[in-house]
Amino acid sequence: MRMDKTGQVVAVYLISHIGIIFIFYPGQILESAESSHWLPITIGFCFYLVMIGIYLKGIRCFGGRSSIITILQERGKIVALAMLLPVAVYFTVVAIVTLRAYAEVIMSLFLTSTPIWAIMALLLGTAVYIAYLGLEAIFRTALLVVLLGVPIILFVLFSSFQNADWYYVFPLLDKGTMSFSFLGHTAFYKSMLVFSGGFLFLGFIQPALTYKPSKVIVACVCMLPILLLSVYIPVLTYGRSTAVLFNLPFLEAAETVEITWLMFDRVSMFFMICLISFIMLLLALIIWMIVQVLRMAARTPDWVPLLILAAIIYLVCLFIPDWLVLDRLLWWNVIPRIYSIIVLPVALLVMGYRYMKKRKVEAEQ
């Protein structure tokens, strides 16, 4: 029974990006350019769009109905392992960084007296449980969470304009930024983190969940306003020179919102709550993907690699002393990351073309 699950796929797609964007993205973009932030945002986004296009096209060359694991395994187990293990490494580091960073954020916003191991245990525990339930459960959960969370997110996004001073948009065409100086800034490349976790899953989920690639691309274009909002709301509220001082510019901007008719005081908390639920799902998805790659190496029941992986992630997170180490970890991860978001899609596309050609030749004979 094959059904089109585009709705669920789009939901997961949005979740996996929104959860990261509002935390990581604005800070890096603000740092990378002094003004005219729309330019680095658009450049990064276009690059991303191209990559996702290549990736989807590559999968499509193989008929578009199977996961890249089976595609690569048809070319031999060694090839598949060689191609996907770096991705697994990359995902593992992303999971570690995300878990640790979000635990830190949660601690500073909600639970100042709770030890971080407990926060991480709950975050990881929830994610592992969801991953254990399997792919389809992840996607259905995502749909439910989106239904519950999106109204809140929209409400906070709209109310964040309360303190906007539109003159802070200017200068729109700054000479420094227009000369693409941000390309030389590490922060710009760090900002690409938000793009990289999210789209690879599109290759893992078929044939259990089929989707229309065109709709995914549409959803992908919807990301641009979200990216712009995440950067421009803090800029409009504080001005760039102030906003760049914050670790989490968007949340600080949301903190300034006052809504007198609400019985709660801090609107930003509701936003954070939704982000956390999104992050739980993202972690679950990432962990599930790593497990899929690991299971290629050794045929075991799902829960064995899952538990080992969870234990590794948790222990590594416990031994990370501060943000500095986290930052360095991110930096070391650049090579697997470049591999995952550039080399893999391109390689897939090349293989896909050759496969198609071979098919054509076979068909002619």
């Binding site: 002094e34 003004s35 500073s108 916003l109 007296s113 709770t114 030890p115 407990a118 001073d165 003159y167 802070y168 948009v169 200017f170 200068p171 729109l172 700054d174 000479k175 420094g176 509220t237 504080y238 001005g239 020179s241 102030t242 001082l245 600080e252 903190e255 300034t256 006052e258 007198t260 005081d265 801090r266």
Partner: protein, 362 residues
């Protein structure tokens, strides 16, 4: 089957036990074991901060309202003092509900930058907290408001709330706006100045011009009103006194046109005011009232502008209008290089919407 059941039950017991241990592991204190100060007073003398906190004490025994407690201490940093007060109290200190920070005038003149960035950094104080300057020693002020606050727990806060007791002559400034003004090139803040009154609890004394966290000048209450109008605040219900009449502003709209001429900023603004006639002395015509009102307002705004130029503090945020006309490095020098030379031509256009229930001549 039996074995599995046993395993499940023991797992359940384990979880329950773990919960019991975990929830006692770190201190989640219930709300009635926390102190929620609403007002903080800060003064500084010879590198020593003095901090006073007004803490509402819920009491169920008498229904006469909220009791207050005033505690204070001195020390070298703000956080240290708060910690010390918290340690001496029988409850946990929770500053996130702080609504108003009262700053003694002398300290404001010295500069409050450090305090503001400390507040923004620690995240223990909401950025939405109001900053207010107190024109008398803080102890004195607190002892005065102690008498009144018995009936109304959030009296100071209400004074500044839009939906409560705020009046248009009072400036609005929150900690986050102060923090922004410290780092912004083109935007400064005005903080309200108050002192304890004789009949009312609080008497407003106009507002202070803050530049880079330092108080550099003062605006009168009437000038603050104009600044609020110019900043686009909706100042309905304000009464303006003139020689011939009193009017109430019911609507305001500003049209700004900014340009650069030979490196000098030029501003042409038109402020459209809709007013309602409340009271007249003698028998002036509508036209007379209009002209007088326009003249007075233009004169006052000119005063404000002159003060801004003299203090090099852009409380009206005029520099914002030039963000698209100046380059980034030029914007950095806005306060010192451009603002003092600003050529301004600001016109008020008043239209009298209604004469009230009586006809003009009556």
């Amino acid at each position: 089957m039996r074995k599995r059941l046993l395993a499940r039950v023991s797992l359940l017991l384990l979880i329950v036990a773990a919960m019991g241990i975990l929830s006692g592991c770190w201190d989640n204190k219930d709300i009635n074991h926390r102190s929620l100060p609403v007002v903080m007073g800060i003064s500084k003398s010879e590198d020593l901060y003095k901090i006073l906190l007004q803490i509402p004490e819920p009491s169920q025994t008498n229904n006469s309202g909220t009791e207050f407690r005033f505690v204070g201490a001195t020390g070298s940093t703000i956080n240290e003092i708060v910690d010390r007060i918290g340690a001496n109290m029988e409850t946990q200190m929770d500053l996130l509900h702080l609504k108003v920070i009262l700053i003694e005038k002398a300290y404001a003149e010295e500069g409050i930058n450090d305090a503001v960035s400390a507040f923004m950094r620690t995240n223990v104080i909401s950025p939405r907290t109001m900053a207010v300057i107190c024109d008398e020693p803080i102890e004195h002020f607190f002892s005065k408001i102690k008498r009144y606050s018995r009936n109304n727990g959030t009296i100071l806060e209400d004074f500044f709330q839009f939906d409560a007791g705020w009046s248009p002559q009072v400036a609005q400034s929150r900690i986050w706006e102060l923090f922004r003004s410290v780092h912004s090139f083109t935007h400064d803040e005005a903080i309200p100045i108050i002192k304890s009154g004789s009949g009312t609890v609080i008497e407003t004394m106009g507002s202070a011009i803050i530049r880079n966290g330092k108080m550099v000048g003062r605006l009168s209450a009437n000038e603050t009103l104009l600044a609020n109008i110019f900043n686009g605040l909706n100042v309905k219900g304000k009464i303006e006194v003139m020689n011939s009449a009193t009017v109430q502003i019911v609507g305001n709209r500003i049209h700004n046109k900014s340009s650069m001429e030979n490196g000098i900023p030029v501003l042409k603004s038109t402020v459209h005011l809709k007013v309602k006639l409340l009271e007249m002395k003698g028998n002036p015509t509508k036209e007379q009232i209009k002209e007088q009102l326009q003249a007075i307002l233009e004169q006052r705004l000119q005063n404000v502008l002159n003060k801004m130029k003299a203090d090099q503090a852009d409380i009206l945020g005029l520099g914002q209008l030039y963000r698209n006309k100046l380059k980034r490095d030029q914007l950095e020098a806005w306060r010192s290089q451009y603002l003092p030379h600003l050529k301004s031509d600001i016109r008020f256009k008043v239209s009298i919407e209604s004469e009230g229930e009586l006809k003009m001549g009556a």
